[in-house]
């Protein structure tokens, strides 16, 4: 069984992100790009399936800063291949990015046949839509999102996919393969891999590059402005060492009849 994991590189929001001088985009110098959080879960679910079914896992990412690190890390975690898609869309251009991946998959560039494509259910910059359904439509494959478990029956090319609903309810779905699934959370938390192992992968393993056929992808949206949000209100901030702050909080809680 061949599983493709698509890693989307997004700004790390633990860092400060700044708006560029044009007021409509992000200042690239202020960004540190990391794989989207739920893509890490998609990779973990793929590796779990690899262990169960002796599957082959290919990690793939659009070329940008940080993509090499993400792909070597995927190899260090156990992916069998890492592929970079040269050139083109990242960030807010989710649609063009998904189209690019679809062209790479369809163009007979050594990425077929895939039985399953896993990616995160959504990313923090998915203004134009979500990668998984956009990619599924391009490929003509079934799609399901908010996935928390994938059980595959390779013999019948079918899967039972668990999707999360509100309030902790789950639905179990029958999904024929090949399919594109948007993973919310893997069955287990994403595995940790020591930096030394990633460095070893950088020395001994290779990232392949594919160049998909070019196609014009007009941007569907006009971004008029980007800005840091104006908050309607703000907390009253309490300063001091933890013990001092604790003392102030106790007074506040007492005042609210909570003690």
């Amino acid at each position: 069984m061949n599983i493709l994991v698509l890693l989307k590189m997004v700004p790390d929001v633990v860092e400060d992100i700044e708006v560029a001088a044009d007021g409509k985009s992000l200042d690239p110098d202020s960004l540190r790009l990391i794989p989207s959080e739920s893509d890490e879960h998609a990779l973990e679910e793929a590796l779990i399936l690899k262990e169960r079914h002796a599957a082959k896992v290919t990690a793939i990412a659009l070329d940008c800063e940080g993509a090499d690190d993400a792909l070597f890390t995927a190899l260090a975690k156990g992916a069998d291949r890492a592929v970079k898609i040269a050139g083109g869309a990242t960030g807010l251009a989710t649609r063009a990015g998904a189209a690019r991946v679809a062209r790479a998959l369809s163009a007979g560039q050594g990425l077929q046949p895939m039985d399953l494509v896993l990616t995160g259910t959504q990313a923090i910059d998915d203004l134009e839509g979500l990668t998984a359904p956009l990619l599924a439509h391009r490929l003509g494959w079934p799609y399901l999102g908010i996935v928390t478990q994938v059980v595959v029956d390779p013999a019948s090319a079918r899967s039972t996919v668990t999707k999360e609903y509100p309030g902790g309810c789950h639905g179990e779905f029958d999904v024929p393969l090949p399919a594109v699934l948007g993973v919310q959370a893997a069955e287990k938390p994403p595995r940790y891999v020591p930096v030394a192992k990633v460095r070893a992968a950088m020395k001994s393993l290779k990232i392949e590059t594919v160049v998909p056929p070019e196609e014009d992808e007009p941007a569907p949206l006009d971004i008029l402005q980007m800005a840091k949000p104006q908050a309607a209100g703000h907390a009253e901030m309490l300063d001091g060492a933890p013990e001092e702050v604790a003392g102030k909080l106790v007074e506040i809680l007492a005042g609210h009849g909570l003690l």
Binding site: Q122, V175, P220, M226, A235, M237, E243, A246
Partner: protein, 324 residues
């Protein structure tokens, strides 16, 4: 172009969700601003009675088909693509929840029209629609227009209140036909109900809630000690549940539970919109986060910039001392 605003009704397991009324309220404003009717689009099977509560709309377009009994993105897309093709409204507003996730993107791809995701607000500007969208975990807002019609808008919970979208009178219902040339390939086998948790967090007066800032499962005990001292329970945000540190029954937020405790203490939680959605009704929100720019401080009543791992035990000790 039929010049109307459409709202996709989110109905699941026989009920219209609260967010549907929020989006109807928003749709009403937009329709009135453009001088066009508001239509609610209801997809289902033997679900016509659900249209009765949708009177905020001028009319309901009701599509009935056995394939729509479970609102999978695939089935909804097949129906919506036909309806959009036939009638070409100005815009379709889609509530963003776990039930509907993916519908906007699939329909956008199938019909070849734009979707604007993560909208917290949509307004009429110069005779057209403009959206304010929340990106990057709440750290950036973008003002966006679509280049084409009909445009799809994915609407975040909380754009309006549900009461603003309720009406006392039932609307006109137009039953429309949709064809399913083949059965959808993605098929629901069964629902699995959540396991009964030991604690119902929605009934707690005090909640100590942890996020990524708690750093590891081992540090949960700091929250548990404080919760115990205050007579409450521990809960958490999405990342903590995805890591497996707390069960799903303790998850607060858009895809988890909404809580209205007397005290909600958020430790190491950034305050992304999905989480904040679940806590807005709390009487008192206290936030501890090491990032002074964390969005949680915009909704909290009191804030502490600091390491939750230091502040939580200090607070536990201070509460114990006070209680004697």
């Amino acid at each position: 172009m039929s010049a109307s605003i459409w709202v996709l009704v989110e109905q699941w397991r026989g009920q219209v969700s609260e967010i549907t009324y929020e989006v109807l309220a928003l749709g009403r404003e937009l329709a009135d601003g453009l001088g066009v009717p508001l239509q609610a689009v209801l997809l289902g099977h033997n679900a016509k009675a659900l249209a009765d509560s949708l009177g905020k709309a001028n009319s309901v377009l009701y599509a009935d088909h056995p394939a729509l009994v479970e609102p999978t993105p695939e089935a909804c897309t097949i129906a919506l693509a036909q309806l959009l093709g036939e009638r070409q409204p100005e815009a379709l507003l889609i509530p963003l929840t776990n039930v509907t996730l993916g519908i906007g993107s699939l329909v956008s791809a199938a019909v070849g029209v734009p979707v604007i995701n993560f909208c917290k607000q949509v307004s009429v500007v110069s005779g057209g629609l403009q959206a304010q969208c929340v990106l990057y975990g709440g750290k950036i807002e973008a003002v966006v227009k679509a280049k084409q019609k009909p445009a799809l808008f994915g609407i975040w919970p909380g754009a309006r209140t549900p009461d603003q979208g309720r009406a006392t009178s039932a609307p006109q219902v137009e039953t429309v036909g949709v064809a399913f040339p083949r059965d959808p390939c993605v098929r629901l086998k069964r629902y699995v109900e959540p396991e009964a948790g030991d604690v119902d967090v929605t009934k707690q007066n005090v909640l100590v809630s942890v996020g990524r800032g708690i750093q590891s499962r081992d540090n949960l005990e700091l929250a548990e000690e404080l919760a115990e001292t205050l007579g409450g329970a521990v809960c958490g945000s999405r990342p903590v549940i995805d890591q497996g540190w707390l069960p799903l029954t303790r998850q607060i937020g858009k895809s988890g539970l909404t809580v209205k405790p007397k005290l909600y203490l958020a430790a190491g939680i950034s305050g992304a919109p999905e989480h904040v959605e679940g806590i807005k009704g709390a009487d008192l929100i206290v936030a501890i986060n090491s990032d002074p720019r964390a969005p949680i401080f915009d909704v909290a009543h009191y804030g502490v910039v600091g390491d939750a791992l230091d502040v939580l035990p200090a607070l536990t000790e201070a509460v114990r001392a006070r209680k004697g």
